[in-house]
Symmetry: C2
Subunit: 327 residues, 2 copies
């Protein structure tokens, strides 16, 4: 069986936006005088940490699950995720009355595994160093007659995440802001692919950049190489949410056309951004959710006009956060 | 000279709302499934911690300062405050091109004194235990030919804070929410007085409650006594923002008519609420800003219908916050 899945386009993003708009939090676009001063330009923060389940992942999961007939999948849905996609699936499945099981790394932050269990989903652990989560999840889905929901290599997931971009474009239009630049963290690249599809249509002059932590700059290097390249298997970072080995295939097809380049930040810059968000913005951002804020604060995002960054999630353990605040 | 100042009414609140609406952050009304479950009712959080300067105080200060002619006060403005009103004045004065000096307790959180200095205002320290801040501020204003801006005993301040209530009423109307109850922390009572004026007109069936920390329940006892009563001078709390000795005179004139009763929470309940806000809402709330969330989480707010609470501010030192997260 050939299984050709066509990447989403703008019409899919718009349809997803309409489909989920009454379920998702229309997250605010924040700004702050100190941030503008530090970054040397007007900066707008799309606060997806305030999204249901604490990250944008609920959007794509919700869009995907609203597209299935539960009778076709008596075993419900299965996902694999470091935590945010897991919570997104768990919440969306609970709302749709569908069972969910999530394959999660055994070292995932407790705040994320607890979030999944809160929504009544089952957590299946794996070892990040030795096991392949996708293989485990695929086997589980087959065994249970369940639908596997990928984290980013899926047109409905990408389109759902793209609703972030539609909201940004609408909010900027409403406030009379003409965005020169948008920067967003990338793991598999599904969010930025969805956002890029939206911006390409609704704000076509906006330059788009990925931001990744040191050691996980697969997008940056893939853009330069013109093809997907992988990170070293022993790379380490505090940014658990976006520690992927390589760009997702489908997102990369979109991103290589619509994203200008990839930027990189250090773990220390990420921590500084988390402290800044605590101190001045009064929002909680997890490490992986703070990379674009880190890039903005360090003046690493090209251009000097209005910049939008996406605070993608806020699921960080209190002990880890307290430690970072104290450094 | 008799100096009779008439308390504000709804028309003043509405005028303030119109005057400052393009300056203030139209803060979001957040909700959360876990919160609803814990509180046993739908709860909506007006997130004033996301306001400019990190608290609602910027609203009243801005409204007051937009009402003066800078030429009348060559010495600018003077305030006295534990920190949030100070930052509100400092920001509003800077925007109006007016000098500002603030009398602040020497034990005020560093995050608050730094916030004041960021806006270019002067900080004048005093000892919370031995000095009377109002006397110091009054002398300073006279000496400098500056305008003294009280924290709450002022019609423009109360009216400005009341813009929070106008926004809540509008947001609820837009979302089809019929608020049964609203609970809000009270120090001098200016915010809740302004909110009560707004709600009395725009959502007249909503029952309104103050929330105060143990030992600072002057509003609760004053409502019962039918007149202003004071707290013990040696009372202690972690809620630095609302440790006032007694209700403000003008706010109390309003609140005794429009507020149903006063509620009390412990410091430990406040800490639990701050941790909850970190964990589930992804917002930073300072101790004094978390009292109404604490009351909601503990089921202390009467009624079981839709409840709005106000997260009044988020200016808390990182070390204090890290400590509370770790407990």
């Amino acid at each position: 069986m050939t299984n050709v899945i066509i990447p989403p386009d703008f019409s899919d993003v718009l349809a997803a936006y309409e489909r989920i708009k009454n379920r998702v939090v229309h997250t605010p676009l924040l700004r702050n005088d100190v941030l503008d001063e530090r970054a040397g330009r007007p900066v707008f923060i799309k606060a997806e940490c305030l999204q249901k389940t604490g990250s944008f992942k609920y959007r794509g999961a919700s869009n995907r699950i609203m597209h299935i007939n539960p009778h076709d999948y008596p075993g419900g849905v299965v996902g694999f995720s470091s935590g945010n996609h897991a919570q997104g699936i768990a919440a969306a499945a609970a709302e749709a009355g569908v069972k969910a099981a999530i394959v999660m790394p055994e070292d995932a932050p407790g705040v994320k595994t607890e979030g999944v269990r809160y929504w009544g989903a089952e957590v299946v652990g794996y070892d990040r160093a030795t096991d392949d989560r996708e293989t485990i999840a695929r086997a589980l889905a087959e065994e249970r007659n369940a639908l596997l929901i990928p984290s980013y290599d899926d047109p409905d997931i990408i389109a759902g995440q793209g609703s972030v971009g539609v909201e940004i474009a609408e909010q900027c239009k409403g406030a009379g802001i003409s965005l020169e630049t948008l920067a967003c963290g990338a793991g598999g690249g599904g969010l930025i692919a969805g956002i890029a599809l939206a911006m390409n249509e609704l704000s076509s002059k906006t330059n788009i950049y990925t931001v990744e932590p040191d050691g996980f700059d697969d997008h940056r290097r893939s853009f330069l190489a013109g093809e997907k390249v992988s990170n070293a298997p022993d790379a380490q970072s505090i940014c658990d949410a976006i520690m992927t080995r390589e760009p997702g295939t489908m997102p990369f097809e979109i991103n290589k056309k619509l994203v200008k380049a990839g930027l990189v930040v250090s773990d220390n810059e990420v921590k500084e951004a988390m402290r800044f968000a605590f101190r001045y913005l009064k929002i909680v951002i997890e490490p992986g959710g703070a990379v674009s804020l880190a890039a903005a604060l360090k003046g690493k995002v090209p251009g000097n006009g209005p910049l939008c960054i996406v605070a993608t999630g806020g699921n960080v353990d209190p002990t880890a956060f307290a430690q970072i605040l104290s450094e």
